[in-house]
């Protein structure tokens, strides 16, 4: 991977034209974008849901996830996901 885009105080946002929603027919959360769709696994959905719900820093996002998932050690996973999601142009950093 190239150099990282996200740090503790950057604010991840959905990229322009991307929409996050629940798809009953797929039985999962998805990202919709011009002429396409990605089905999300539960972990990705938990992160993107929070990105979509409110503007917050990565540190705040991780804190929130820790509360929701019994203090699990998930920092690295979150950062890794954010970088990959950014590589795929799903999200941008503010």
């Amino acid at each position: 991977m190239t150099e990282s885009v996200f740090s503790a105080d950057s604010v991840p946002m959905l990229a322009l034209g991307y929409r996050f929603q629940w798809e009953p027919a797929q039985d999962c959360f998805v990202l919709l974008y011009p002429e396409g769709m990605v089905k999300l696994n539960p972990a990705a959905a938990e992160i993107l849901k929070r990105i979509e719900q409110k503007k917050q820093t990565v540190a705040e996002l991780i804190a929130e996830l820790k509360v929701a998932f019994d203090g699990a050690d998930l920092d690295d996973d979150v950062y890794q996901f954010l970088e990959e999601a950014h590589d795929n142009s799903w999200i941008r950093a503010e």
Binding site: A25, G36, V38, K39, N41, A45, Q80, E84, W90
Partner: protein, 397 residues
């Protein structure tokens, strides 16, 4: 105007391999609904893929009928809604259709020439919840010259492209290339850069409908393509991280066909202005179609049970060389409509494939195009423009 699903690579947060819409799931769903709202269009592009006899279609679906189609498709899992035509902006109920589609949870894509749009309209569409606008520079070569010269005729279009961006949409421009304009792609790309476009699609003319009729005049020459490709790649490098450029090679110059519609009756559903349901927008012209209509049947019945949608599903219908070919899951034997138009049998291998015994037809078409291109201008066949008058004349009604 036509549109195709884009590809999504396997991505980190996506469920085990099943990313994107181009997956052949065991259960097929009409994920992509293309609503050709109308055949009315202020332009007359000679490479339009609408059927030659479009002027025969008098009665368009009503607002209520369209909304029923949307609802039924949505229930079956459709997420992407393409609104095209003709020119969709000529439908007075466009805003209402978008508002309702958005409420149903569709991702709404408007595919427009921009003619008939003004800044207030863009704002209104945004307000209605429209997700994405693709402005197609669908113009004859003469208009294209105007465009590049920046004359009044295209000022409007350019203003529209800017209004699209000002309303918070990514600016997605589409240019359909062919022999008469492909030499200008550097100028086209410069224009896109000056407009600060986010995506530029250099689409290739697909030889259906009007484009097929004008094929001799539209097929690009090999040296033109080589030049265009080199230019496209140079701009891709220069614009990396800024403007995304998609460049598509015309399949007549390929050795393998495109994976048409990601497989017949697999993810795509087209509804024409009069309510005919098609597995692909050109399929109306195939022999032996029953042409189910949404006025008589539900989307579910059409998708699951109709002859048309089952006809070329899977692999059992295939003939040789496709049947025993190990690439069939990649390209599904190519395009049924192209196989029919060129060989007379829609179940044949798409002649674009070099394994097809009919591949010489493609080479002959290219040769014929070359002969035509080399004639003195005065002797060249004129382009036939897509308009109701020509439609009636050619289809003989």
């Amino acid at each position: 105007m036509t549109t195709a699903g884009s590809e999504q690579n396997k991505a980190p947060g996506s469920t085990g391999g099943a990313s994107g819409m181009n997956v052949r799931d065991a259960i097929r769903q009409p994920l992509w609904l293309l609503a050709e709202l109308t055949y009315a269009c202020p332009l007359q592009c000679p490479y339009c893929s609408n059927p030659m006899d479009f002027a025969n279609v008098k009665k368009e679906l009503t607002t209520e009928q369209w909304l029923t189609v949307f609802r039924q498709a949505r229930e079956m899992g459709a997420t992407q809604l393409g609104l095209s035509g003709g020119e969709p902006l000529t439908r007075p109920d466009l805003v209402e259709l978008i508002t309702e589609a958005r409420k149903m949870g569709f991702y709404t894509n408007l595919i427009t020439s921009g003619v008939g749009m003004d800044a207030a309209k863009v704002a209104e569409l945004k307000e209605a919840g429209l997700d994405h606008i693709q402005v197609s520079f669908q113009a004859s070569s003469e208009d294209l010259n105007n465009l590049i010269a920046g004359t009044d005729a295209f000022k409007h279009k350019i203003e529209m492209a800017k209004a699209v961006k000002a309303n918070g949409y990514p600016m997605v421009l589409c240019f359909v290339t062919h022999r008469q304009n492909i030499d200008k792609i550097d100028e086209i790309l410069d224009l896109a850069i000056s407009l600060e476009a986010d995506y530029v699609e250099l689409a290739t003319t697909q030889y259906y409908g009007w484009a097929m009729h004008n094929r001799d005049q539209l097929l690009p020459m090999k040296d033109q393509l080589e030049r265009a490709e080199a230019i496209a790649h140079r701009y891709q490098d220069e614009q990396h991280g800024n403007m995304k450029i998609y460049y598509v090679v015309p399949d007549y110059y390929e050795e393998r066909p495109k994976a048409c519609m990601n497989g017949w009756g697999n993810v795509f559903l087209t509804i024409t202005p009069d309510g005919t349901a098609l597995p692909c927008h050109a399929a109306r012209e195939l022999p032996g179609m029953t042409l189910p209509n949404v006025k008589d049947s539900t989307i579910h019945e059409i998708w699951s049970d109709s002859n048309d949608f089952n006809r070329f599903r899977g692999f059992d219908w295939m003939k040789e060389p496709c049947r025993s070919c190990d690439e069939k899951e990649k390209d599904f034997g190519g395009c049924r409509c192209q196989a029919y138009m060129l060989t007379g049998d829609p179940a044949n291998t798409d002649p674009v494939c070099s394994k097809s015994p009919d591949h010489h037809l493609i080479l002959e078409a290219l040769e014929q195009g070359r002969l035509e291109a080399n004639k003195p201008v005065m002797e060249q066949k004129p382009l036939v423009f897509r308009n109701p008058k020509n439609s009636k004349k050619i289809s003989g009604f």
